[in-house]
Symmetry: C2
Amino acid sequence: MFESAEIGHSIDKHTYDAEVPALREALLEAQFELKQQARLSVIVLINGIEGAGKGETVKLLNEWMDPRMIEVRTFDQQTDEELARPPAWRYWRALPPKGRMGVFFGNWYSQMIQGRVHGQFKDAVLDQAINGAERLEQMLCDEGTVIIKFWFHLSKKQMKARLKTLRDDPLHSWRISPLDWQQSQTYDRFVRFGERVLRRTSRDYAPWHVIEGVDPNYRALAVGRILLESLQAALANAKNTRQANVAPLGRSIDHMSLLGALDLTRRLDKQDYQEQLVAEQARLAGLLRHKRMREHALVAVFEGNDAAGKGGAIRRVAAALDPRQYRIVPIAAPTEEERAQPYLWRFWRHVPARGKFTVFDRSWYGRVLVERVEGFCSPADWMRAYGEINDFEEQLSNAGVVVVKFWLAIDQQTQLERFEEREQIPFKRYKITEEDWRNRDKWDVYAEAVGDMVDRTSTEIAPWTLVEANDKRWARVKVLRTLNEALEAAFAKHKK
Amino acid sequence: MFESAEIGHSIDKHTYDAEVPALREALLEAQFELKQQARLSVIVLINGIEGAGKGETVKLLNEWMDPRMIEVRTFDQQTDEELARPPAWRYWRALPPKGRMGVFFGNWYSQMIQGRVHGQFKDAVLDQAINGAERLEQMLCDEGTVIIKFWFHLSKKQMKARLKTLRDDPLHSWRISPLDWQQSQTYDRFVRFGERVLRRTSRDYAPWHVIEGVDPNYRALAVGRILLESLQAALANAKNTRQANVAPLGRSIDHMSLLGALDLTRRLDKQDYQEQLVAEQARLAGLLRHKRMREHALVAVFEGNDAAGKGGAIRRVAAALDPRQYRIVPIAAPTEEERAQPYLWRFWRHVPARGKFTVFDRSWYGRVLVERVEGFCSPADWMRAYGEINDFEEQLSNAGVVVVKFWLAIDQQTQLERFEEREQIPFKRYKITEEDWRNRDKWDVYAEAVGDMVDRTSTEIAPWTLVEANDKRWARVKVLRTLNEALEAAFAKHKK
């Protein structure tokens, strides 16, 4: 894999000087087009051998291009805010918005290769990390991110020579960190695991480019040209609205469904309700103060039919707690900054730190509900969202976040009664809009979307709880009890 | 000041139960109006004696109101990301956007009172903190934030009794922290310094409300009513476009000005330029690697006439450095999320952490330049901006941030030549727009705004550097040299 990057590529000064002006101009034009279109973002991943010119090349690119549209990030030591969240959070918060370019040093590949080289884990865990990276990149590309991956290479001999030269040059000796010297010891392992990673993550949508790092002219021109071609191809492609092939999901052929099977007559009388509510609220308050909670976070997702009582259920959850312990995130239309990012970005930004509890009043499931039904995104977009959402929730779960998802279900008659009732009560008036009445006409289409959603995203790590909500009391107690059981189950796992 | 909150206020259950439903409904209506108008944000500051019901009252408010529109924040231990920036950064990042309400526990008042009580500083420093809080609140109010400040009070005797009751109640004993017990020792000092703070910070635009905390019914109703009245008054007021009285700034009466006094014929020949440029770039690179830099951050602000060469100067600064060391923040029109916040919010979010360097390509000075000239904000808004900006930069400076501000000046003839030249060069075409030509017609109005800006915001802690930029070489070297001198001066101060 690295053979052709150890053969001594070089470009003479004359050729270099002749080529750079046109390349630079074309890069600037591409950058401008990127900004104008504002449909794509670009991530350049910088990896490879120490001393192979990674920093110098990026510095040069910043000189050739307009550095005001480039954000160079390096992910070294995690901050305590980052340590308290899933590992990918730090990358999500650094994603460049559409129209801009991010250059990532010390990215997900560096972390996984270093971890394997230093024996923090074995191949199986490395392969998990590789799969995670693949899924992340696939998703980013589907969301309009161009990913360009560079591996700067040196042979072992070249590397040692290069470090020696740097050390002996007083102007550059500061550039060599103890880590670099260490790498000269671990070169063989670094290259072996690097190859494993490159082999598995070089995909049509985000291929690796291996660059021999000995000759500055060669590496600069090679990187510049690849960057230019990748940009130009992506920009040209972005103009054509892509129509992906979408396989049909298949329909129920016997009219049976999970939702249809719910027993909506379930109810609690007032006395039972008050007793159970108070008991479950106290239990939740206790669990959130439990010392095990410091190793976990809690995410509760509330979805449901309009007027199913999401707000009321959330209020009963909140009432159990000190307001300093939770945050409620109401999900409405995305803001301008959110629209310039991949779909899940606006949820990642609200992922709770360890010890905290976040309630999402509507959620990322909007993608496969309202956006699907109303045609706000293409079928390909919502179809792939099932997998993306499962990945997202798996990452939360792996980081100790307990994810509890509620679908509050009512029947059409109950909804009608609640709509009419709301129109009568002054301070509930605002809860009912024209749109709610329109959505009601699409009852069956929504029901189908909900069925698909539950089938495809109810997983062991983040199961859906369907809540019979014709009776608000029943629904509220079931919500609280489900939260409590989920937390207790998570805490109990520690004991094993 | 606290006397009338030690006389045993109480409300009987009957009165309470009769009043709450209407109060709750009115609060919900006000909250809805707040969201609909989306012109105001609300900050509720919670302070006072431990055990006086702060937490319980906020919990109750969250039950009465719609908790989805309220964000409760508590500012205890600073994260390392917060510690690396000016103290106010943590409050700025938590500000509620327009239409929403934030409840701040452990806010700026808690910090200053605790600091004084525990002898971390004396009255002079407390008074500085008080002045800082006043300026912050004045600014927030001018920007459309309603600030409601509650002091929950207990007499010393009441406090001790309350802590004892809590301790003896197994359901509530967890609520008392060691800090609370400590406060019973420091009660007298706490009340003394609390009074000093309240006395000086109770202003017409953000008065304090002292609430006796013994009786839960009393404190809940009292807080609820004050909140309601404050909200209703602010909402009614927001509908009338306020026309503040603005004092005239005064004009130059002899046509002399700082800008006019610049010698724009200053220039460097190519040889001198190249030598000096390389020398200053190396000096900057060295300074940013200096160990003293870990205690500082660097902010460079670039403003100037159109086509004065801001971009080129920034590129020469960037070229000196590893791209991982700096960030360039181009300032364009604010995004939707930025428009929902006080003016300076969008700059606060980019304040560098210690050790870092941020370049602002245009800046907060837009308020007193383009926004003033084009009428994007009212005269009152840009007039008060001078003071707000000075406060902002003082906070940066106090936190060790070196602030360097450049105005790149060219004459009208030079600008014309550059505009025409840009229209000829393909990859510079995008730099010139219709708007640039329009701005050119307003040369004199802009010159006046620049003059006022420099007069009012060139301070010892953050002076303006006027850069003669008819000759690009001269300008670039002067920019680099100024940055270097500013850093060296900051580092030298440590030695004293």
